[in-house]
Amino acid sequence: MREEILITVRDNYKIDPTVSAWGWQVIADLFLVGLTAGALIFTALVILSRKEETFAFTAKRLPLIGLISIGMAMSFLFLKLTHKQVFYSFFLAFVPTSVMSWGAWLLQVVILSILLLALQGLRQGFPMLSGPVDKFGIGKWVLDLAEKIKRPVAWLSVVMGVIIAFYTGTLMTSLDARPFANSGLMAPLFLTSGLATAAAVVLLGSKGEIERRVYTYTLFGLLAFKIVLLALVLVNLASGSKVQIEAVQMVFGGEYTQLFWVIFFIPGLLLPLLIEAFGLRGKRSAWMAISPVLVLYGAYMLRQLFVDLGQISGYINYVNTYNPALIDLLRMH
């Protein structure tokens, strides 16, 4: 046996008994940024393929949802900071080795991209909002400009959508000290998840028959790919270093097995995949609206699990409370 006990007090806030520096704010941020990334990519692809009439919701409404998402994400991130008065420090330096520093700067371009995409769709997507804007000279000029430059913005948006979704995964991957989140496949997994999230929003909001049918196929494909990527992440961890193997055991017979498989995997991934499989055969029934809701739930839970289990896993495993099992451990052969 090996037992390591803290014999002087150590109860550091957000460190003990396990690291919990990143809470719901970061999880929500990763989820919402993923949604924005998906919105950027889908909207841009529709604009570039000149299918805005067929995919009206994606082209005209989705980007505003993305803009609201990124606004909320930034607000949550600000709420997370424990030393808010110097939040501007993010923009006083660029640290090439810090993934979060890259994110701070890249998000500025993402915000600009999704803002311009939202503005180009405002007149047709949300006429009640564009009406008051159009009454002002500068407002009309901005909306005209956004519509005029939508194709170059779409090209930028595809690139930024992929990069920012990769960023959310890479942020996790970069933390070698957190073995559960330390897989090189996190970036494509979070990109796929972000796209699935945006596709789910379209299925919830769109009334276009063709649009809904195409997104049914898209969501099915994305969910299937997401399951494959998730399996590969787990295989990657299970064949990794000692701490990675110990970390992945948390969901294979360990303390978080039920949470991972019963609370996350089945309702958040497997069930919507099966429901979407029904949709592949033709018409989407009303009851199938549960599927995109489950996809959103699954995307949030995916991030919750990787952030939380990532922080729980690590190199340090000190017991800093009385452990009644110690005597048994000492006698264990």
Binding site: E3, I5, T8, H83, K84, A93, S98, L175, D176, I316
Partner: protein, 179 residues
């Protein structure tokens, strides 16, 4: 880079916790927070058990992942050494360094910024040992420049069996334990 190192003789450490008290006093660490701590590690099977006491703190790694992860450059190294410090005026409390440290050696101050062991660099620049080293009643702790072959720390590491914590991280920790 001048490499400062701490060497702790686990054969002499009795786990009294004086180093912890000295640190809190010297650095005015608030109640409920700790920059250093003592671990009692027991290995083996009863009745053949071995116990070692380790006074632990930030390892002042020469490849500090916390410094690499900090998005605002609030984490930096003191002059041209491996002593890792945090500038409270730049630290946003984003938690990236906490997540990046494999030793869980950082702490969040009541004001919100992140803090950690500084190897008492304010004492080191005056030629003094860190407070924990200076206060150790069993004289089991040593501090010095690792690159100087005549320093006590270099001689101890050259002549005694030793280990550093979780060297597989690749962080190159600079707190060594004589075993």
């Amino acid at each position: 880079m001048i490499r400062y190192a701490m060497v702790i003789d686990t054969k002499l450490c009795i786990g009294c916790g004086d180093c912890v008290v000295a640190c809190k006093t010297e650095n005015k660490v608030p109640a409920g927070l700790n920059r250093d701590w003592v671990v009692e590690a027991t290995t083996g099977t009863y009745p053949n058990l071995q116990t070692e006491f380790r006074s632990e703190r930030c390892n002042h790694c020469t490849k500090p992942t916390c410094l690499y992860a900090c998005p605002t450059a609030a984490t930096y190294t003191w002059e041209d050494t491996n002593i890792v410090l945090v500038d409270p005026d730049r630290c946003t409390g984003c938690g990236a360094c906490i997540a990046a440290c494999p030793y869980d050696a950082r702490l969040v101050m009541n004001e919100g910024y992140v803090s950690k062991c500084t190897f008492c660099h304010h004492r080191v620049e005056k030629g003094l040992d860190p407070a924990c080293v200076a206060s150790c009643p069993t004289k089991c702790m040593y501090f010095g420049v690792l690159d100087d072959p005549n320093s006590t720390v270099s001689r101890l590491l050259a002549t005694r069996e030793h280990k550093a914590m979780y060297e597989e991280t690749g962080n190159e920790p600079q707190v060594y334990y004589l075993t």
